[in-house]
């Protein structure tokens, strides 16, 4: 009823609005408050909020730039990065991925384009593969992916799997989930599904790793 009243009032005032529209929100408010062109009985709307509800200003979710992406991968994997022949591919492909060189381009392109997703997918698969291999073979100084599970039997302990998932979601996405949070269900489902269809239990964590790195919560903030 309240909404109906507001809608009616707005519709009526719009129909009878002066030809010259106010140029600002403040102007619009002052016009409606100074006069009552609608003819609506104010007593009936006195108890409703006449002010339109504005959403408070927000920050725009931003895509990680190429430097942030490269540094994030390195920090989260203990120094691994997307490499080819000794070169970091994020640096090699920086111009293609929109990093300005200030000669040919001066504005950074932070759109999550298809090209960006393609390269992020390539990077995630390569880095996660190296991460798994390093942890299974015991080459890493400390684990970064299979932190709370046994690298030799990473799908053996259900409680440890959940704990590890919570750890990874905090590290990769900055999201802290309590045990039993419904949000964990889908991640657990991913790990279990890949585990069920694979002969190699580490494949489950490889899939989780790739999914974490290609998730919007990873490449944006």
């Amino acid at each position: 009823m309240r909404h109906l009243l507001i809608a009616s009032a707005l519709a009526l005032s719009a129909c009878s609005a002066p030809a010259e529209e106010p140029s600002t929100v403040a102007g619009a408010l002052s016009v409606s408050e100074q006069s009552d062109p609608s003819g609506v009985d104010k007593d009936h709307i006195a108890d409703v909020d006449k002010l339109p509800s504005f959403e408070p200003p927000t920050r725009a979710r931003q895509r990680l730039n190429i430097d942030q992406l490269s540094a994030s991968m390195e920090r989260l994997t203990g120094g691994l990065n997307w490499m080819e022949g000794g070169d970091i591919l994020w640096e090699e492909l920086a111009a293609t991925l929109g990093k300005p060189d200030f000669v040919q381009s001066t504005q950074e392109d932070l759109l999550p384009s298809q090209l960006f997703h393609k390269f992020l997918d390539d990077a995630a698969r390569q880095v996660c593969g190296k991460l798994i291999t390093g942890e299974v073979l015991g080459l890493a100084a400390e684990p970064h992916l299979m932190v709370h599970v046994d690298a030799q039997d990473p799908m053996g302990d259900s409680e440890a799997i959940d704990k590890n998932l919570r750890h990874l979601l905090l590290a990769f996405h900055g999201k802290r989930f309590e045990a039993g949070d419904p949000e964990l269900v889908q991640w657990r489902w991913l790990a279990d599904s890949v585990h069920a269809s694979s002969t190699e239990p580490t494949e489950a964590w490889n899939a989780v790793c790739v999914a974490l790195m290609t998730h919007p919560r990873f490449f944006s903030y």
């Binding site: 540094a71 001066t106 889908q186 489902w189 991913l190 999914a211 919007p216 903030y221």
Partner: protein, 525 residues
């Protein structure tokens, strides 16, 4: 199969923010709920860390805040004081200074060594080459021979040329190696027999001048790249120093601090005389103050103390070369730091009916829409040479030179200084009254003449005084951190930010702190 499954799952997980579109899915319970606009503490921490340090927090940092070992505010202060924040600030300022001049050629072709056809002989193609070899050809691939007086012996060839042999030299760009350099080009004297300086362009016809000691007056291939890179890095280092020292933001535009590394030191001491289009002369820094450093010391940096004519980044060589005209220099500053782009209105600029366009752009119809403001603003760089990074000190380059007026009036040859910096060739009667004047004074109104003498620092102090600079810096910084343009309704907030920025002594860190701890920052869409 596995891959397809993975892709499907990743897509499903990634589509958490488009729940509405997936409302009819049978597995609705597997779809992520949309994120709340207000970030959780851990998400805020991640956003801060990514923007202020360039990478995400560690698990230990998340846990330290969660368990109360440290407050998020304490962590934020620590991050703002870290070198990583200075690096992110440098990165932000690159968007405004565009400090890349690696596409600029600093060497005249006459001072560039070459090799041809797979030969290992290095030689120069200069006017002098014709004099000593008789044609633009390389030398003989045999050790050079000298007569009893130490003069090179050139042997007559069947093609009519006279060719000398090579000399082994350790070049400055790779001092641990030796290369074969044609004898005439390898001459290591600093002055020719006529007294000409071999490190200047006029030496290119003197057969007694070569590339100098260690080939210092010549370049080969990409040997100039470390120099142009260093000039860009000098600018970055000036920003970094202000951020790390937590100095007033205006120090960016007023400090007398500069940085040199090995290649830049070497270039400034020995190579500015063999310029191509871009010129560093008259040098804005005394070579006595530049430390002797090996060209190969690319990672060793030394802080220079410059004189009072310098105005921070606005007179840094990379800025002056990236924006080669005084107008371009003013335009960049107005656009980035005063938020006043010189831009025609959407409705266009009315063009008058002048029969002959006025040569003064401040008065010409149409042009004056921007140039009435741009010309006096550009005058602040009036003592910084266009098309280079030279400085015209008032003693050597007074406002008026009689010799330049005389050469312009009586037809005698004008000196290089007159041709470069003074008005000697008027194109209209309006300009004739400025004959012999320093070009930056041409059409300068009396009340704007101070701009030429006071330099960019005056422009900055005026913009701080009237509040334009703090307001614009607050706006640019907000846009960076919020990832969007500000809305008109946010003007009061912006004004508050600018006021806070000024009250803090124009400390950039305080401004950033105020923005990232605001309610607006914590709400994300």
């Amino acid at each position: 199969m596995k891959v397809r499954l993975l892709v499907l799952v990743v897509v499903a997980l990634a589509c958490g923010w488009t729940t509405a579109a997936l409302a009819d899915l049978p597995n609705q319970d597997l779809v992520c709920s949309p994120d709340e606009p207000v970030m959780e503490d851990s998400e805020t921490l991640r956003a801060w860390s990514l923007q202020l340090r360039g990478y995400p927090p560690t698990i230990n940092e998340y846990d330290a805040v969660e368990t109360g070992v440290v407050s998020s505010q304490e962590l934020l202060q620590e991050w703002l004081s870290s070198p990583d924040f200075a690096e992110q600030s440098v990165r932000f300022h690159r968007n405004h200074f565009w400090p890349n001049i690696t596409n600029v050629n600093l060497f005249s072709a006459s001072f560039s060594l070459r090799r041809e056809g797979g030969s290992f002989l290095y030689w120069r193609r200069t006017n002098a080459t014709l004099n000593y070899r008789g044609d633009f050809v390389t030398c003989l691939d045999e050790p050079a021979e000298f007569d009893a007086y130490g003069n090179l012996i050139a042997k007559p060839q069947a093609d009519g040329t006279d060719r000398e042999g090579y000399v082994l030299v350790s070049p400055y760009w790779a001092p641990d190696t030796t290369i074969k350099v044609c004898g005439y080009d390898a001459q290591d004297n600093t002055h020719g027999l006529t007294g000409v300086f071999c490190g200047g362009r006029s030496a290119n016809t003197d057969i007694s001048c070569g590339c100098g000691p260690d080939l210092r007056y010549c370049r080969y291939g990409t040997s100039q790249l470390p120099v142009t890179r260093a000039l860009g890095t000098d600018l970055d280092e000036r920003v970094r120093a202000v951020m790390e020292e937590d100095e007033a933001y205006t120090e960016l535009f007023t400090s007398q601090r500069g940085f040199v590394n090995g290649p830049l030191s070497f270039f400034l001491r020995y190579q500015t005389g063999v310029f191509a289009g871009i010129r560093f002369d008259p040098l804005s820094v005394s070579t006595d103050t530049i430390p002797e450093m090996d060209y190969t010391a690319e990672d060793t940096w030394y802080e220079l103390s410059l004189d009072s004519a310098h105005a921070g980044i606005l007179t840094a060589p990379a800025y002056l070369i990236r924006f080669q005209t005084d107008r371009a220099r003013a335009n960049r500053f107005f656009d980035s730091f005063l938020c006043q782009p010189f831009q025609a209105p959407d409705s266009g600029i009315p063009v008058g009916e002048e029969a002959i366009p006025h040569p003064d752009l401040q008065q010409r119809d149409g042009c004056k829409y921007c140039h009435a403001l741009l010309e006096p603003a550009a005058a602040h760089w009036g003592r910084w040479a266009e098309g280079g990074a030279g400085y015209l000190d008032p003693e050597t380059y007074p406002r008026h030179r009689d010799e330049c007026m005389a050469c312009a009036t009586y037809g005698v040859n004008c000196s290089e200084d007159c041709n470069r910096f003074y008005l000697t060739k008027p194109l209209t009667a309006h300009e004739a009254e400025f004959l012999g004047e320093l070009k930056s004074y041409v059409f300068r109104r009396a009340d704007h003449e101070i701009n030429v003498e006071a330099g960019p620092e005056l422009l900055v102090s005026k913009a701080v005084g009237d509040g334009r600079l703090p307001l614009c810096v607050a706006k640019r910084t907000s846009e960076w951190l919020l990832g969007r343009s500000l809305e008109p309704r946010e003007e009061p907030w912006l004004t508050d930010l600018a006021t806070h920025f000024v009250a803090s002594g124009l400390r950039f860190k305080e401004l950033v702190h105020a923005i990232v701890t605001s309610d607006t920052y914590r709400r994300v869409r």
